[in-house]
Point group: C2
Chain length 119, copies 2
Amino acid sequence: MNAITNLVNRYLDAFNETDGGRRAALIDKRFTDDCGYTDPMIAAKGKQAIDGFIGAVQKQFPGAVFTLSGSVDAHHDIARFTWHAGPKAGPPLAIGFDVIVLDGERIRQVHGFLDQAPG
Amino acid sequence: MNAITNLVNRYLDAFNETDGGRRAALIDKRFTDDCGYTDPMIAAKGKQAIDGFIGAVQKQFPGAVFTLSGSVDAHHDIARFTWHAGPKAGPPLAIGFDVIVLDGERIRQVHGFLDQAPG
């Protein structure tokens, strides 16, 4: 697995980590201090806001697992990929698509879109 | 046609405008001063660099026409869309996918990817 795919998987780990302290540590390690996250629901600035958003998502969709779907397409400081969220077995509840902007090995910005909104 | 679709079409106009003066004017009007453009071939910063890149693309693929394919999916300050480039008739030579970041009615950043590279 190459470095960028590994980073994307560690990013998705944050959505799957329901222990608050461990989730905050994951975000602290994988995002820059000036990070941002925008998807159709929210535009969040900073690690704390992103952590709060992920916590809210976990409360709204308890037990949902976020996984990378397909491969990561990366060049220069950007990468695109599709993710699935839903129960461990069965079709996904939601399908999303992100472009992430990197600063070295950290994420500076997530530009998120939904291909399938949760019903 | 809504404002964001209109903006995307004006952006693609710059790729189709082979008159240097008119192209520079289009770019000046549609991009911010701190704009950037990144695709698999290049990471360009500023209006002049983007103008130079588009000029080089036009020389490499003379007569190619850039058109929006499908709809524009936009929320907050970002939008995603697919474009085709090729002869006016027949299948496209290249298919690309961009996420653009907006500052008001201007483009601050283009994050570009290729779904089909020119042969």
